[in-house]
């Protein structure tokens, strides 16, 4: 089930962040999203994750699941609400998922929707929990795709596995965040600048791990470096 963006627009007034963006992510493909800072890469990923809804256009995610600006008024209203919420730091996640994925023939709830695991721009770890616990925390009813130890092995020094994330260095935290995304059961992996804070050797090891634990899932990575795209063997999408 390819993922398709059709003329997707998104603005955070007064700024138009994305204007009529269209592209297709093929099933199992690896993509690098590139472009200058502030062009809307993170916004695009947030749309993909359902954390924002488009002002116009449509996002199709196979199995009839799609969302977009059908209910344009409602979408606008929510955009403003979410925008305000972002500043207020609350309420954003309150818009129900059902509303976000409004319309589309399939409204039968979460289980049929595309499952996503993500590395956000920030690490977003549970600071009190260690690496293994952080990964276990996102385990669903059907468990994890990979055991925590399996993903962490070769990516993070064993001594750091049992350290609370809050006491780890930025680079360690980054790798735990990546391991968490890889270990969770999903069909789409979304990574927003996953290699920030990783030096050359650590980055290469991490990329190898990503490729070996990708397990055929579609992968989209935001990066600033052409080299990353080459190492990942990714198709480059430019914004």
């Amino acid at each position: 089930m390819p993922i398709e963006f059709r003329n997707v627009s998104k603005s955070f007034p007064p700024k138009d962040v994305l204007a009529a963006v269209s592209f297709v992510l093929e099933d199992g493909g690896i993509y690098c999203l590139m472009g200058p800072s502030g062009i809307g890469k993170t916004t695009l990923l947030r749309l993909l994750m359902g954390l924002e809804i488009p002002d116009a256009g449509e996002i199709r995610m196979g199995r009839g699941q799609s969302y977009g600006a059908y209910k344009k008024d409602r979408a606008r209203e929510q955009t403003y609400r979410m925008d305000g919420a972002l500043i207020a730091g609350k309420g954003q996640f309150r818009t129900k998922r059902k509303e976000r994925y409004a319309a589309g023939p399939n409204q039968s709830g979460q289980s049929d929707q595309l499952r996503i695991s993500a590395v956000f721009q920030e690490n977003r770890l549970l600071n009190f929990a260690d690496a293994v616990q952080n990964i276990r925390a996102v385990s669903g009813k059907d468990g994890l795709l990979f055991a925590p130890e399996e993903v962490l092995d070769g990516m993070l020094e064993k001594e750091a596995w049992r350290q609370p994330a809050g006491r780890q260095s930025g680079g360690m935290q980054r790798r735990v965040a990546i391991a968490r995304a890889l270990a969770a059961r999903s069909e789409l992996l979304v990574m927003d600048e996953p290699f920030t804070g990783l030096d050359g050797a650590a980055k290469e090891r991490t990329i190898r791990k990503i490729l070996s634990c990708r397990a055929g899932r579609t992968l989209i990575v935001v990066t600033h470096q052409e080299e990353d795209a080459r190492l990942l063997g990714a198709e480059v999408l430019r914004l």
Binding site: M49, K90, E122, R124, N127, K141, G166, R167
Partner: protein
């Protein structure tokens, strides 16, 4: 607190006790004022009676019971109010009322409704509930937005979110709220008993001290209330700390 600081603090306390004793000797009137020696003597006489322990038990059970009920209700309704704005809007006037009406008015009303025996349970509940409710609500709101988004994307279960995101956010609020609320529960609980005078309760003993102008007993029972309420507070905070998954590992704020 450093060792040095603690020593100075202890010295200050000893000094005040000496001043207290000196003042009592100066006043030299057992109805107007009693010194620490007299209070200790009275207390040691009291603790040898069965009635003392029965009274302490009676009041402790009711005050702690009212506190626990209010804690559970405040937690539940606080979480509910976070989730459903209609519930929050519905409860707001009631909570505001609870916070503004003088405890004495509630005591009189409760005396008419349920009599004096379990008066302290109801009064403690009414005093503690708003504190726990508000702090739970605030704590839930303090949960990290970025982590909540993470949980949404990974489809973390409701239980997982409670355990990993909301729990750690609410606990610090609950700790400070419990500290305050336990003190309030004892103060208002005993005050209610003084008005209602249930048999064999701390409040009844305080009331008797007034009738017989026994200032020494008043002081002794006051001391008992302070000590017992501190004990309960410490025990409860210890329990709360056991429930804290972030124990000794720092908070949960995203970087």
């Amino acid at each position: 607190m450093g060792r040095h600081k603690r020593r100075r603090m202890a010295a200050a306390v000893v000094l005040w006790i000496l001043i207290w004793q000196a003042a009592a000797m100066l006043v030299h009137n057992r109805i107007l004022f009693v010194g620490p020696a007299e209070v200790c003597l009275t207390l040691s006489r009291l603790v040898r009676t069965a009635e003392f322990w029965q009274s302490v038990m009676h009041s402790s059970v009711r005050i702690a019971g009212g506190f626990l009920l209010a804690f559970a209700a405040g937690l539940l309704l606080g979480a509910g109010a976070y989730r459903f704005s209609w519930l929050r809007e519905f409860l707001e006037p009631a909570v505001l009322t609870l916070q503004s009406v003088p405890v004495a008015s509630f005591v009189i009303l409760a005396l008419i409704w349920i009599g004096s025996k379990n008066l302290a349970v109801l009064i403690c509940f009414l005093v503690v509930f708003p504190v726990i409710y508000r702090n739970t609500l605030q704590g839930m709101r303090a949960a990290d937005v970025q982590l909540l988004e993470m949980a949404q994307v990974f489809r973390m279960s409701r239980l997982g979110k409670l355990r990993y995101l909301y729990g750690p956010a609410v606990l610090p609020y609950l700790k400070s709220a419990s500290h305050v609320a336990m003190g309030m529960a004892w103060k208002s609980g005993v005050a209610a008993e003084v008005i209602g005078v249930p048999d064999l309760s701390i409040g009844e003993k305080l009331y008797m001290a007034k009738i017989y102008l026994s200032t020494a007993e008043l002081f002794a029972w006051t001391l008992v209330v302070i000590v017992v309420s501190r004990l309960f507070e410490q025990a409860f905070l210890w329990l709360l700390a056991r429930a804290d998954v972030t124990r000794g590992k720092g908070g949960n704020d995203a970087d």
